[in-house]
Subunit: 169 residues, 2 copies
DNA sequence: CCTGAAATCTATAGGTA
DNA sequence: TACCTATAGATTTCAGG
């Protein structure tokens, strides 16, 4: 990984913070918010994007609007922990849009998945298919999401020191 | 909840799909992509936003760029399952930006949290503080995220029938 | 759903401290 | 280096068909 560090000052962090919550704000309004004229603000934003600090922008969709839908959290333990087995599982995960979140975990659970399905029946049909795919899944646990309690952008700007800080893109 | 259903056709779903991945696409380019001129496309988008189907837009930030950071998945079980206890816990969750995801679950775990911290030490300090806050947490399990495997927009447009479908906003 | 046009925004050029 | 103003070209928004 290249570690050509980049200094981000308070203004850069503020730009990030604003766009994490209002991703489609116009560049001119953004400039107003951070007390800059449009050019330097535009240059800062371009830098944040080019450096890969801002990776992209996403519309956030209301699941309720499309409801009824079923969200499920699934924990997965694999049969075997050889690197090739992990790799095969992780590759397969990418092919299934139903799985929209997956993290590898330490501490007794190998993976945690977040699955979106029309209902529990189609969730189970999906899992049956996944289990039959020869991915070396030893066991899994299903936890239905009964209520989404909170979803907010990762607080990256709060975890960086108060003064300018090196960032590795 | 008002259930004034709204019909979404293929074009609307396509608009949603595109903006879920390219949230800052210009409206004129969006119109090009869905083979419309800019006015009707603009009207459709405005409707999706006004109806709350598209809730907002977010910049996606690279956690690696801000690294080293520690992501932790935490499962929580409460002492007591009275509605007031759930409510108190859920209210408290909102006040902590470190917790950027929280879902209420069925199946033996009450809540699952996603916590972002600078390192394991500050994660533990945060949890100690949360445990001392009198939220009725009986026990919790910590699973460090060793590798983010996948993150993609929820596939809402795939879960809706092929023809126009009623949506409740 | 279209065209057209005024208001606004974007991206760049050129200049100051 | 970091900021500014000015401006041509693109985009957004809306009126009218």
């Amino acid at each position: 990984m290249k570690t050509n560090g980049v200094k981000l000052d308070e203004r850069d962090l503020r730009i990030i913070e604003i766009l994490q919550r209002e991703g489609r704000l116009s560049k001119s309004e953004l400039a107003r918010r951070v007390h800059l004229s449009s050019t330097p603000c535009w240059e800062r934003l371009r830098h944040l994007e080019d450096a890969g600090i801002i990776e992209g922008y996403e519309a956030r969709v209301s699941l309720k609007a499309f409801g009824p839908l079923t969200q499920v959290v699934v924990t997965v333990e694999l049969e075997s922990h050889l690197p090739a087995d992990f790799a095969r599982f992780e590759r397969a995960i990418q092919d299934h849009p139903e799985i929209h979140e997956c993290d590898s975990l330490g501490g007794g659970i190998d993976y945690i998945l977040k699955v979106l399905a029309r209902d529990l029946e189609s969730y189970q049909a999906f899992m049956d298919q996944l289990l039959s795919a020869g991915l070396g899944i030893r066991r899994y646990f299903t936890y239905v999401v009964t209520k989404p309690v909170k979803r907010s952008p990762p607080p990256v700007t709060r975890l960086t020191g108060p003064e300018g800080r090196k960032i590795s893109p």
